[in-house]
Symmetry: C2
Subunit: 225 residues, 2 copies
Amino acid sequence: MIDFEALFKVSYGLYIVSSGDNMKGNGFISNTVFQVTAEPPRFATCCNKNNFTNGLIEKYGLFSVSVLSQKTGPEVFGRFGYKSGKDLDKFEGMNIKYGETGVPIVMDNAVAILECKVLQKFDVGTHNLYVGELINAQILSETDEPMTYSYYRQVRKGYAAPNAPTYIDKSKLVKKTTPVKSKIYKCSACGFIYDENREGIKFSDLPENWKCPVCGSEKEYFIEV
Amino acid sequence: MIDFEALFKVSYGLYIVSSGDNMKGNGFISNTVFQVTAEPPRFATCCNKNNFTNGLIEKYGLFSVSVLSQKTGPEVFGRFGYKSGKDLDKFEGMNIKYGETGVPIVMDNAVAILECKVLQKFDVGTHNLYVGELINAQILSETDEPMTYSYYRQVRKGYAAPNAPTYIDKSKLVKKTTPVKSKIYKCSACGFIYDENREGIKFSDLPENWKCPVCGSEKEYFIEV
């Protein structure tokens, strides 16, 4: 038997994983970046086959990792987690550096960056798992804490995007609160659910400048469901 | 250029990954357990080829994961992280349950447990990466926080064991403190280094009942290096 709540006990960080070159580049929010060997240092990342960045990693054989700070704002998660590079240039207006291999690296909000050359690609179903040799690693901030997935969920009330390995259909989660008469609103940009019962504040009572905690969309983007 | 300090900005949890059956079982401390796909839910773990448990995962095609609580004591890290199942029965005296597949699961100190059936094995160098189908997932404690690698390092002053994917030879780390006249002691059980300069307390001034923060060995196990 699978209690999907148990899956939230596994710890992750939050990252922007990017690929491409100085002409064409893209990145996405990832929670699966991890070291797989120490000698030599190799890192793996998991990418949905439908992600625009997946095609770039395959083409360029490179990926960079920006370890996001705990201070990272919701607009970054909106842009890199809930929108596709097929539809917009996610790097527009961002501080992008090019690494030793030429791969683009998002410097905004990063406490550290890693740069990897792909050695192996494994098909694990809906996602590819890329293992890369670590070429370059730098700390950008000694003081800022890295954002963890647990912090993002518990403090920021964020959810994994549908393309993430950790996405959980909310119908699979056991309801632990007694339902009371309340309304549910959905962000039409990112799908974030505002449940009055869970939040304890009526949606209509939220201030007019309130924004979607996941993608930063205005209140008017919400529809009652 | 690789600044090895940057690698500490990547977030991990801490787990006991086990395999075997009710006659023969073993487990090891792992920081690399992560979900790789959501539909269906699949998890991966990384295991050093020299680990005794690696042979068991290969033989039984199963692994369990015990998500360790933040309260987990140093003796658990000593037993499961710095000792080998070749030399002792790590499960002796522990609360072991057998899952739906028959795989042993360490229940002590666990806030949640996962049970997986291996689907794929990838050779990534010194380690194997196993991808498994999630068969069973349970929460054991709603209130205890999971232990993170960051907490283990910063609060518990623990280090990755030499077989871990995240092991870093200390000579690779940039020294950021000015050296003063001080002594260095090494735990002969687990290799933990007590550096008087870093700790700010002379080793001889530590109380007699002080224990190695990593493996729980007595003070007498330490030798000056």
